[in-house]
């Protein structure tokens, strides 16, 4: 039971830190975006109603998009927000990876294998998404 508690705490910490980091990034990006008075900030209603308009201005579809927008000087504030969203999306995967490590360290091979298989399937689905 103690080993399980240690793994629980490890995963819990990862999920909490992942949530907080993504929250901070999303909030920072949105606040800078609004403070700079970007034209789209005043047009959020139109943008989210119309997919074509929205896609044209603000949507990131790959990590490369986000990286390029962050490399601009000054960085695109919405790219900071998008980075926060990416952090949020990978947080559960990090949680499962932590479970693999935690169960291995606790000597629980059954659950290290189960968590490892779940992690492998998650990574396969990411690979399929990238390929598709």
């Amino acid at each position: 039971m103690t080993a399980t508690r240690t793994v629980d705490r490890l995963i819990g910490r990862i999920l909490m830190v992942g949530g907080l980091v993504s929250l901070a990034l999303m909030l920072t990006g949105l606040l800078i975006y609004a403070a700079h008075g970007h034209p789209q900030a005043r047009e959020i209603v139109r943008v989210v109603h119309n997919r074509a308009a929205g896609r044209a201005v603000d949507v990131f579809t790959s990590l490369g998009d986000v990286r390029r927008a962050l490399a601009q000087r000054p960085p695109d504030p919405l790219a900071v927000t998008a980075l926060g969203l990416v952090c949020l999306l990978v947080t559960p995967v990090l949680g499962v990876a932590a479970a693999v490590a935690g169960f291995l360290r606790a000597g629980d091979r059954d659950y290290a294998v189960i968590a490892g298989v779940v992690l492998a399937m998650l990574l396969a689905s990411f690979a399929l998404a990238a390929g598709g």
């Binding site: 629980d8 910490r13 900030a41 989210v48 929205g54 999306l89 559960p92 189960i114 689905s125 598709g132």
Partner: protein, 282 residues
């Protein structure tokens, strides 16, 4: 609606969805997608992208707290995640091949039956101890949590593990095929089939929905369905709501949570049957 009012309304809705999701073990998509599309007039693709983000936000916001209080069971969650993630992968591969309408109809009927079955056990605070399931013993599908309402430690062990696993596989298959979340199905499988305490079922579902949704989140991101101006305020609201929901949930009775869950189950059954009959498009 002015942009500020739009964002404020969006944030408030997301806080409520996050709170409800954290208590009921749902990702909030079932609540958010209709609200975003019908009331806010948001494009359906963006609403679905925001919904998948909200599922992961609910999971991250709630599961951390539930793991600390031992309401969420990592072993049971990971064991059943084998079924849901595998089901989701198979479902995604079969999309377009399998007659989804027939599947929706069958599922709707199964959900309607489950609604009636859940109604029968509505007053049961904690499940009666039953004969030990060999798989539960083999994989340690058991645990203990402190129940603040009952003011005592509650021990539990899963039963009918094969049934629960099969239901989880079905839930994953469905989410892969139809692109919908499956928090309600996970709660149902744990509460109804595996006879886990309702709080453990919803808290463990919260841990699991993040994992299952992460499997498809990449697809939504690559498609451009996750719009930062919409998804970020939703995610922030949901994270705040989920954190508040976890505090409230520990003070609720298992029966209260089941009563709140029942209308969602009934709603899902009706919507699935109507979709299966081709009478409802969204």
């Amino acid at each position: 609606m002015s942009p500020l009012a739009f964002v404020a309304a969006l944030f408030a809705t997301s806080v409520l969805a996050g709170g409800a999701g954290a208590i009921l073990g749902l990702g909030g998509g079932i609540l958010l997608i209709p609200i975003l599309t019908l009331f806010f007039g948001v494009d359906l693709h963006y609403a679905m992208g925001a919904s998948i983000v909200s599922v992961i936000a609910t999971s991250s916001g709630a599961a951390a707290a539930y793991l600390k209080t031992r309401l969420s069971n990592v072993r049971i969650g990971l064991f059943l995640a084998l079924a849901t993630v595998a089901g989701a992968l198979v479902g995604a591969a079969l999309a377009g091949v399998v007659p989804t309408r027939l599947l929706q109809l069958l599922l709707g009927v199964a959900l309607a039956y489950s609604t009636v079955a859940t109604l029968r056990q509505i007053r049961i605070e904690l499940p009666e101890p039953t004969e030990a399931d060999p798989l539960a013993l083999r994989f340690g599908l058991e645990g203990v949590y402190y129940d603040a309402v009952l003011d005592r430690d509650v021990k539990y062990r899963a039963t009918r593990v094969v049934h629960g696993f099969a239901a989880m596989m079905g839930a994953g298959l469905l989410s892969g095929l139809l692109g919908i979340g499956s928090g309600a199905f996970k709660v149902l499988a744990m509460d109804h089939f595996m006879r886990l305490p309702m709080k453990v079922s919803t808290a463990t579902s919260n841990f699991m929905i993040g994992i299952t949704s992460a499997a498809s989140a990449g697809i939504y991101f690559a498609r451009g369905d996750i719009h930062p101006l919409l998804a970020a305020p939703v995610a922030i609201g949901v994270l705040v709501g989920a954190a508040a929901g976890t505090r409230l949930m520990t003070r609720l009775r298992n029966t209260t949570i089941r009563k709140a869950f029942l209308p969602i189950l009934g709603w899902l059954a009706v919507s699935m049957i109507l979709r299966g009959l081709g009478l409802w498009l969204p």
